[in-house]
C-alpha cells in the first residue's frame, strides 16, 4: 500500500507543477481508460453494453444492468471502480494495475471532476482531449530564451549546462586536438583525417583553427557522401524491389541517391529538399504521360528525380506474387510508414487497421493522410515499377531513335521476306515427294494459317511433316539460314546506333485521374467503408490553422502532395523541424534529444532538453532550413569538444542523457569500411552513377565484384576500381546484404531504418580476424607504409599509427610493435620453410618469393585496424 501511495504521489507530482493535487478526468483518468477500456467502450460506433467512457458526462447514463456506473464521491457504489476491482473488466488486455485503479478510485472519491466543461458533442471515432492536444510535440515550436550560464556562452552549451547543473554535473574537459579532429572528420565525412591534416590543425595557433577544420570538412564532397547515408536510411534506399523472393533490381534508383548526396553537399535548404521529394513532379509540372519538358530542364529533372523518395518502399508488384492487390496496397502502406516516421516522427501506420492505441490518431486520419498520396499510387489503376520509369531522351534523341527503328524494321521485314522465299523454294522441291493427288490439297493447306486449317488439312500435313517448310530454315538449309541471319544482324547493328536511353525513376500522377479515397476496414483493400478527403491529422490541425488546401494544378496533377509539402515546410508545422534537428543531433552525439527518433507521440520518449530542441528547430527554420550552419554550431560547441572522460558523469548518468561527456561509439558500417580503405590507400574517389556491383563468393560472403556464379557454384570476380568506392555507392540489394557492412549492422531495408542497432558479437571479430577484406587491406596498408618509409622502421610505424589513430605512437608502442614484428617474422619464416610454394604452372611467371617481414607488418596492420581505438569514435 505504501508503494501504491508512493506511485500515486509520483504520478501526481510529475504533472502537478504546483497546482492543487486534485484529480481530473482529462489529465489523470482518461489516459487510463483509454489504455484499458475505450477500445470497446467508446471507439466503436456502438459502445459495448452502451457504456461510453470517452467523456465524463457519458458516465451518467444508466446502465443496462441497472447498476450505476458512477456515483461521484462514492467509489464503493460506482460500478466503474467495482467491475475493475472484481477483475471482470477489462475483458481484453491486461488487468488494470492496482495503482491505476487507485487513481480512478481517488478521482471518484474526490467527486469525479473534469478540468473544464466537456464538449457538447464529439464526432466519429476517438475524441481528442485537451491533455492529448497539449502533448509537447503537438505544440508549435516556441523559441525559448537562451539561459545565461557562465562558461557556456553559446546557446547549445548554455541549454546543456543548465540541465547538468541541476544534477551537479559539468562538462568534461576539452578533448585534445588529435582526438577532436578525428571525431569531427569521421562524423562529418565518414573518413579519418590524414596525418597531414592532423598535424596542420595541431600546429594552427590561430583563433579560428577549429572553424577552419569544420569549414573544410563541410565543403568536402565526402561530407555529402556520409550524411546522405543518414537520410537514405530513413528513406529506405535500395537498389532492389524487395517484397518477393525475386527481389528484382531497381536499376535506376541510384539517381535518387546521387540527388541526395548533391543536396547535402550543396546545403540545399530542407524545405526545398522536402518539397522536391514529396511533390517534385508537381513542381516540375510533370504527369505520367507528359514529362518530356521536365526531363530536358536540369532543375525540373532534379525535382522529378527527388520524387523517387516516394518510390523507395519495397514494391513486388512487378514480380510474380500471390495476391496482386495486396502487394499494391502494401506499397502504399509501407511508403506512408516511411513518410510519416521520417518527417512527422509519428507511428501513423498503427492507425491503418484501427484507431491508434496510444496517440490521438484515428483510422480516419490515416486514410485522410493516405488520400494525399492516392492519386499518385491509385491502387486500382496500378503502375508497376517498370511503368514508373521516364525516359531521359531529348526530343531530338527520340526522333533519331524512331528514325533508326524505322530503318531497322525495314531490314527485319527484308530478312523475313528472304526467309520465306527460301522456304517456298524448298517447298517446291519437297512437294514433289508427295503422291500427285495430294500435292494440291497440301499446297492449299500450307497456305492457310494453322488455326484455320480443317481437320483433314491438319491430318494431311501431319502425314508429310517434312514437306511443310514454313519454318526451321536452318534444318533444311543452314547456308541459306546464315544469309537470313546476316541480314537480321544488319538490323541489330543499326539499332545499336540509337542514342543510349537512360531512365529516371519517379512518382507522377496520371493527368486528371483522382481516385476516390476510401477508409479500408482493418486496412484491407477488399473492404472499403467510406470515402475520405485528403487532410492533415486531426491532432495537428488546430481550429485556428487550416493546414493545407489542395488545388488542382495546370499540369493536371491533383496538387495534393504539393499542398501538403508546402504545409509541412511552412515553418508552422509542429513536428517536421523538431524531428529533423533531433536526427541531426543524434548522428553527432549517438543519441537523440528525443531518443525515439521515429516516435514523438505519447509513447515515445520525452525530450531530455525540450528547450534546446525547440531552439535548434527554430534556429534551423529561421536560418533558411540550412543544415551546414547547424552542423557548425554543434561540432564547435563545448559539448562536442569535450573528452570522453568524466567520472562523475559516468557514475550519475551512464547512458549520458545529459551529455556531460562525449560517449564513445563504434563507427557505423560504412565509415568503418571506408576508413579501412582510406588508411590502406585503396579508396577510389569516384562519385555518383550506377552502383558498384556485388556477388556471392565461394565462401558464402556477399562481396563487391562481378557475379560469375552459376546455379551450382558461387563465384565473384574482382571488379577493379568499382570494388574500392565508398560504401554509399555499393549496390543495396535487399536480399543480399554485403557481408562487411551487414556484419556491422548496416540495415536491411524492410522498408527503412529509423535507428540502427549497434551490436557487439563474435562474427564481427571473426570478420576482422579472417575475412579477405581485412586481410587484403592490411596488406595494402603494409605495402603503403613500407613504400613511404622503406628504410626506417620507426618512422614506418609512426606513419601507421598516424594514419589509423591520428596520433603518434608512444615509445612503448614502438618497442612492442618491433618485438611483435621480429617474432612474427620468425614464425612466418618457419611457416614458409615448412610450406614451400607450389611450383608455378608451366610457362607461367614464377610466383614472387614469400616476404615474411612484409607479411608480419601486414599482420600488425591488421591488428591495428581491428583495435577498438580504430573501430570507435571517441
Amino acid at each position: 500500500m505504501r508503494l501504491i501511495t508512493a506511485i500515486l504521489f509520483l504520478s501526481l507530482a510529475r504533472e502537478a507543477h504546483g497546482e492543487s493535487p486534485s484529480l481530473t478526468f482529462e489529465k489523470d483518468v482518461r489516459p487510463l481508460l483509454k489504455a484499458h477500456c475505450t477500445l470497446c467502450h467508446g471507439d466503436e460506433e456502438k459502445p459495448k453494453a452502451g457504456v461510453d467512457l470517452r467523456l465524463r458526462r457519458f458516465m451518467d447514463a444508466p446502465l443496462e444492468s441497472g447498476a450505476t456506473l458512477l456515483v461521484p464521491g462514492k467509489p464503493e457504489l460506482s460500478e466503474l471502480v467495482g467491475i475493475i476491482a472484481r477483475g471482470e473488466m477489462p475483458k481484453k488486455g491486461h488487468a488494470v494495475p492496482a495503482h491505476e485503479l487507485e487513481i480512478i478510485r481517488q478521482w471518484v472519491a474526490q467527486g469525479a471532476k473534469t478540468a473544464r466543461p466537456e464538449p457538447e458533442s464529439i464526432g466519429n471515432g476517438p475524441h481528442i482531449t485537451e491533455e492529448e492536444r497539449s502533448h509537447w510535440s503537438f505544440q508549435p515550436v516556441k523559441r525559448p530564451a537562451v539561459p545565461q550560464v557562465a562558461g557556456a556562452p553559446e546557446p547549445i552549451d548554455a541549454f546543456l549546462a543548465v540541465a547538468m547543473q541541476r544534477e551537479g554535473l559539468d562538462f568534461a574537459p576539452e578533448a585534445d586536438r588529435p582526438t577532436w579532429i578525428r571525431r569531427v572528420a569521421l562524423d562529418l565525412t565518414g573518413l579519418p583525417p590524414t596525418p597531414e591534416e592532423v598535424a596542420a590543425f595541431v600546429a594552427d595557433a590561430s583563433p579560428t583553427a577549429f572553424e577552419k577544420v569544420v569549414d573544410r570538412l563541410l565543403a568536402s564532397p565526402a561530407y555529402g557522401e556520409r550524411w546522405a547515408r543518414h537520410w537514405l536510411d530513413v528513406a529506405g534506399y535500395a537498389d532492389s524491389n524487395g517484397y518477393t523472393e525475386v527481389d528484382s533490381a531497381r536499376p535506376h534508383a541510384w539517381r535518387y541517391r546521387d540527388y541526395v548526396i548533391r543536396a547535402f553537399n550543396a546545403d540545399k535548404p530542407w524545405d526545398e529538399f522536402i518539397r522536391e521529394q514529396l511533390a517534385g513532379d508537381e513542381l516540375a509540372g510533370a504527369t505520367h504521360a507528359d514529362y518530356q519538358a521536365a526531363v530536358i530542364d536540369p532543375k525540373k529533372l532534379e525535382q522529378l528525380t527527388a520524387t523517387a523518395f516516394l518510390r523507395m518502399a519495397p514494391d513486388g508488384t512487378g514480380d510474380p506474387n500471390d495476391d496482386a492487390k495486396l502487394a499494391r496496397n502494401q506499397v502504399i502502406a509501407e511508403q506512408l510508414k516511411i513518410v510519416s516516421s521520417s518527417l512527422l516522427g509519428l507511428t501513423v501506420s498503427c492507425a491503418q487497421c484501427h484507431d491508434h492505441r496510444h496517440d490521438p490518431i484515428s483510422q480516419e486520419d490515416y486514410y485522410r493522410l493516405r488520400a494525399v498520396f492516392d492519386p499518385a499510387y491509385n491502387w486500382e489503376a496500378w503502375r508497376a515499377p517498370g511503368q514508373r520509369l521516364y525516359s531521359l531522351y531529348t526530343p531530338a534523341e527520340h526522333a533519331k531513335a524512331a528514325e533508326i527503328e524505322k530503318a531497322a524494321a525495314v531490314i527485319d521485314a527484308g530478312a523475313r521476306e528472304m526467309s520465306k522465299k527460301f522456304l517456298d523454294e524448298i517447298f517446291e522441291v519437297e512437294i514433289l515427294k508427295l503422291p500427285e493427288a495430294e500435292r494440291e490439297p497440301y499446297r492449299t493447306a500450307r497456305a492457310i494459317v494453322e488455326k484455320d486449317r480443317t481437320p483433314e488439312q491438319k491430318t494431311l500435313i501431319k502425314k508429310y511433316p517434312s514437306a511443310l517448310a514454313l519454318y526451321s530454315l536452318d534444318l533444311y538449309d543452314p547456308k541459306k539460314q546464315e544469309q537470313v541471319n546476316a541480314k537480321s544482324a544488319e538490323a541489330t547493328k543499326l539499332r545499336a546506333t540509337k542514342p543510349v536511353q537512360n531512365f529516371v525513376m519517379a512518382l507522377t500522377e496520371v493527368k486528371g485521374q483522382v481516385p476516390e479515397s476510401k477508409l479500408f476496414n482493418r486496412g484491407d483493400q477488399e473492404q472499403p467503408v467510406r470515402t475520405v478527403t485528403p487532410g492533415e491529422l486531426t491532432i495537428l490541425s488546430t481550429p485556428d490553422i487550416a493546414p493545407f488546401q489542395p488545388a488542382a494544378l495546370p499540369s493536371g496533377s491533383s496538387g495534393r502532395r504539393l499542398a501538403y509539402a508546402n504545409w509541412l515546410t511552412s515553418g508552422k508545422h509542429p513536428l517536421v523541424a523538431r524531428v529533423l534537428v533531433n536526427r541531426f543531433w543524434m548522428h553527432h552525439f549517438g543519441r537523440g534529444l528525443v531518443n525515439t527518433p521515429g516516435d514523438f507521440g505519447l509513447s515515445g520518449e520525452r525530450p531530455s532538453h525540450p528547450g534546446l530542441l525547440d531552439w535548434l528547430a527554430d534556429e534551423f527554420v529561421k536560418g533558411g532550413w540550412k543544415l551546414k550552419p547547424l552542423h557548425r554550431s554543434i561540432v564547435l560547441s563545448r559539448a562536442y569538444r569535450q573528452s570522453t572522460a568524466n567520472p562523475s558523469s559516468l557514475q550519475a548518468d551512464p547512458e549520458n542523457r545529459l551529455l556531460s561527456r562525449y560517449k564513445v561509439r563504434r563507427l557505423e558500417a560504412e565509415p568503418l569500411r571506408d576508413s579501412i580503405l582510406a588508411a590502406a590507400g585503396a579508396l577510389v574517389d569516384k562519385p555518383f552513377g550506377p552502383p558498384s556491383t556485388i556477388a556471392r563468393d565461394p565462401a558464402g560472403r556477399i562481396v563487391l565484384g562481378v557475379d560469375k556464379g552459376t546455379i551450382t557454384k558461387a563465384e565473384a570476380a574482382p571488379g577493379g576500381e568499382q570494388d574500392f568506392r565508398r560504401s554509399v555507392y555499393v549496390e543495396v540489394r535487399r536480399s543480399k546484404p554485403v557481408t562487411v557492412l551487414d556484419t556491422f549492422d548496416a540495415p536491411v531495408m524492410t522498408p527503412h531504418c529509423e535507428l540502427r542497432p549497434q551490436t557487439t558479437v563474435a562474427p564481427q571479430s571473426l570478420l576482422l580476424m579472417n575475412d579477405t577484406f581485412i586481410l587484403d587491406n592490411a596488406r595494402r596498408l603494409a605495402d603503403r607504409v613500407h613504400r613511404e618509409f622503406p628504410d626506417d622502421e620507426t618512422a614506418r610505424l609512426g606513419r601507421t599509427w598516424q594514419l589509423l589513430y591520428g596520433q603518434a605512437p608512444g615509445e612503448s608502442d614502438i618497442a612492442r610493435a618491433i618485438s611483435y614484428l621480429r617474432l612474427q617474422t620468425a614464425t612466418l619464416t618457419v611457416h614458409h620453410a615448412q610450406n614451400p610454394p607450389a611450383a608455378p604452372a608451366k610457362g607461367a611467371a614464377p610466383l614472387p618469393a614469400p616476404d615474411p617481414a612484409r607479411e608480419a607488418l601486414a599482420s600488425l596492420c591488421q591488428v591495428l585496424l581491428s583495435s577498438n581505438r580504430f573501430l570507435y569514435l571517441e
Binding site: 488486455g93 571479430s765 612492442r816 581505438r869 571517441e874
Partner: protein, 482 residues
C-alpha cells in the same frame, strides 16, 4: 571511484594462450569440475560483466534451453486444445461474446477444427492428428492450454512472451538467462540464434536483443545456410602461432584503450568477443557440422526428407550447441508464418509437416542422451487463434483471427512435468478459464526451473532494479514443475 576489470582476465584460463593444448585442458578441467567454482552472481551495481558460469539463487534442474519459437500464433484448437463444442457448432453462430481483434473480418460463425484429436501416451494427452510425432513423446511434455498475454498485436505479443513486457527494446529471455547464469562453455556464444532460410521472423532483432543489458548478453545469429558462420578459417600463413600472437597484441592494445575509457561496457564486450571468436574457429565449425551424426539420428529428425530437412538440421544443431554448453538457443521461423488469417486448412498442415517430426525428435534425442532433465525445450508462439472463422469466403479460405486470452504452448525437460496438461480454456477454446498462465507467470516459472528467482534477477538501470517480470505480479506456477 574504482573500476575493476579483472573479471575479464580471470574469465580466460590462460590469458596468453589460445593453443589447442590449453583449450583441451580447459575443457577437461571443466568436465571434471576442477575449474574455479562457479561464482554467485553479484547483482548489485557494477561495471564488470562476464559470461562465467554462475549459480542461481537456488539449485535449479534446468541448465540450458532450446526455444522453438513459432511466430504468428499457432492455432491451439487445431493442434493442442480439442473442443468438441466447436465441432458441434461448426458453421453456426457463436453463442457467446467473442473478443475479436479484427472486427472488420469478424464472423460469428464457429469454425470447428477440421482435424481429429486422439489420446497419446500413458497420460492420454489429446493432440491433433497434425502432430503425430509429438504424440509419441506426450509423456515427456508439459502442455499448457491456458496461456494468456492479453495483447492482440504480434509486436506486443512477441515482446510480452519474449522479453516480459509489451514494449519494445527490453532484454530477451536468452539475455536474462545468460546474464543470470553465464555460459558453460568458453568456446561458443552463450546465446545463439538459428535463423530460417526465409529470413528472420517479423520484428527481427527484437527476438534476440540484449535491450538495456550489457552487449555481452546479446544473441549471436547463425546463418540459415552453409556456411552458418562466416570466416571461421584463419588465413593459412597465420593459423596457429601467428594468429595467437596477433590476438595477444590486440588484447593488450584494447585493454589499455579500455582503461582510458572506464565504464564503457561495449569496449569490454568487444574484447571478450575476440577471445570467443578465437575459440569459435575450431569449436563452432565442429558444433555446426552435423555430418558426423549417425544416420539413425538424422532419420529420427527427418534430415532425409526435403519437407523437414531444414528444421531437422537446425534442431540437431541446437542439440549439439546445448551439449557443448551453450545456455540458450532459439530456433526461429521466417516472417510470421503461423498467422493463418485465411486458408488455415491448407496452410496449417504445411507448417506442422515441417516442424512436428524434428521437434518431437529433439525431445526423444535429448532424453536418450540423458540431457532432457537439464534442458528445457519450449514450443510456442506469441498468441493463439479464435474459435470463430475469419475471412468467410468459402471454407478453403477460412482462417482464424488472433486470440491472446487463451492459447497453448508446450515445454519439455528441465524439471517441467512430463505427461501433464495444465489449465483449460472455455468450452470453445476462446479464453483461459482454469489456471490461466500469464506470460510473466511463465517467465517466473521458467527462471525458477533454472534456479533463478525472478524478483532477485535484476539489473540496475537508471537507479532502479529492473527485471524480466517487472511489477506485473508474476508468480511461479508450481504445478508445471515435476
Amino acid at each position: 571511484m574504482k573500476y575493476s576489470f579483472s573479471g575479464s582476465r580471470r574469465h580466460f584460463l590462460q590469458a596468453n594462450s589460445y593453443g589447442l593444448g590449453s583449450l583441451a585442458l580447459a575443457s577437461l578441467l571443466q568436465k571434471n569440475g576442477l575449474l574455479a567454482a562457479p561464482v554467485k552472481p553479484d547483482l548489485g551495481p557494477e561495471t564488470e560483466y562476464d559470461l562465467l558460469p554462475k549459480q542461481g539463487h537456488a539449485p535449479g534442474q534446468a541448465k540450458a534451453m532450446i526455444s522453438l519459437f513459432m511466430m504468428g500464433g499457432p492455432s491451439q484448437m487445431d493442434l493442442f486444445d480439442p473442443k468438441p463444442m466447436l465441432t458441434k457448432y461448426d458453421g453456426k453462430n457463436f453463442p457467446g461474446e467473442i473478443k475479436y481483434d479484427n472486427l472488420a473480418q469478424a464472423s460469428s460463425k464457429v469454425f470447428g477444427s477440421p482435424w481429429k484429436f486422439t489420446k497419446h501416451g500413458q497420460c492420454g494427452m489429446e493432440l491433433s492428428e497434425l502432430l503425430p510425432h509429438l504424440g509419441a513423446v506426450a509423456d515427456d511434455i508439459c502442455l499448457i492450454r491456458s496461456m494468456v498475454s492479453g495483447v492482440s498485436n504480434h509486436a506486443q505479443g512477441l515482446y510480452a512472451v519474449n522479453s516480459g513486457r509489451v514494449t519494445a527494446g527490453n532484454p530477451a529471455l536468452g539475455s536474462w538467462l545468460t546474464y543470470g547464469l553465464g555460459c558453460e562453455t568458453e568456446d561458443l556464444p552463450a546465446y545463439m540464434v538459428l535463423s530460417h532460410p526465409g529470413g528472420l521472423p517479423t520484428f527481427q532483432g527484437e527476438h534476440f536483443t540484449n535491450g538495456w543489458l550489457p552487449a555481452l548478453y546479446q544473441g549471436t545469429v547463425v546463418r540459415a545456410t552453409e556456411p552458418r558462420i562466416l570466416n571461421l578459417d584463419p588465413p593459412p600463413t597465420l593459423a596457429g602461432d601467428g594468429q595467437r600472437r596477433q590476438l595477444d597484441l590486440l588484447r593488450s592494445l584494447n585493454e589499455e584503450h579500455s582503461s582510458d575509457h572506464p565504464g564503457e561496457l561495449d569496449l569490454r564486450a568487444r574484447i571478450a568477443s575476440y577471445e570467443l571468436a578465437a575459440k569459435m574457429q575450431t569449436a563452432a565449425k565442429e558444433a555446426l557440422d552435423i555430418s558426423d551424426e549417425p544416420e539413425s539420428v538424422k532419420k529420427l529428425y527427418g534430415v532425409d526428407d526435403p519437407k523437414t530437412r531444414d528444421y531437422a538440421t537446425r534442431c540437431i544443431i541446437a542439440r549439439r550447441l546445448v551439449e557443448r554448453g551453450v545456455r540458450y538457443v532459439q530456433v526461429l521461423n521466417a516472417g510470421q508464418s503461423w498467422d493463418q488469417h485465411s486458408a488455415l486448412i491448407t496452410a496449417l498442415p504445411t507448417n506442422c509437416g515441417a516442424v512436428d517430426q524434428p521437434s518431437a525428435a529433439l525431445v526423444t534425442d535429448l532424453k536418450q542422451r540423458g540431457l532432457l532433465d537439464s534442458t528445457v525445450v519450449h514450443w510456442g508462439g506469441e498468441m493463439g487463434r479464435l474459435p470463430v472463422l475469419q475471412n468467410d469466403a468459402g471454407r478453403e479460405k477460412w482462417g482464424r483471427d488472433h486470440n491472446t486470452f487463451g492459447f497453448s504452448q508446450w515445454v519439455a525437460g528441465g524439471g517441467f512435468k512430463g505427461g501433464y496438461v495444465h489449465g483449460e480454456t472455455d468450452e470453445f477454446g476462446h479464453k483461459a478459464v482454469v489456471d490461466p498462465v500469464h506470460h510473466y507467470d511463465w517467465h517466473a516459472t521458467l527462471l525458477h526451473a533454472f534456479g533463478l528467482d525472478h524478483q532477485k534477477l535484476t539489473y540496475k538501470r537508471n537507479g532502479l532494479a529492473a527485471s524480466l517480470t517487472g511489477d506485473q505480479g508474476a508468480k511461479v506456477v508450481e504445478q508445471l514443475l515435476a
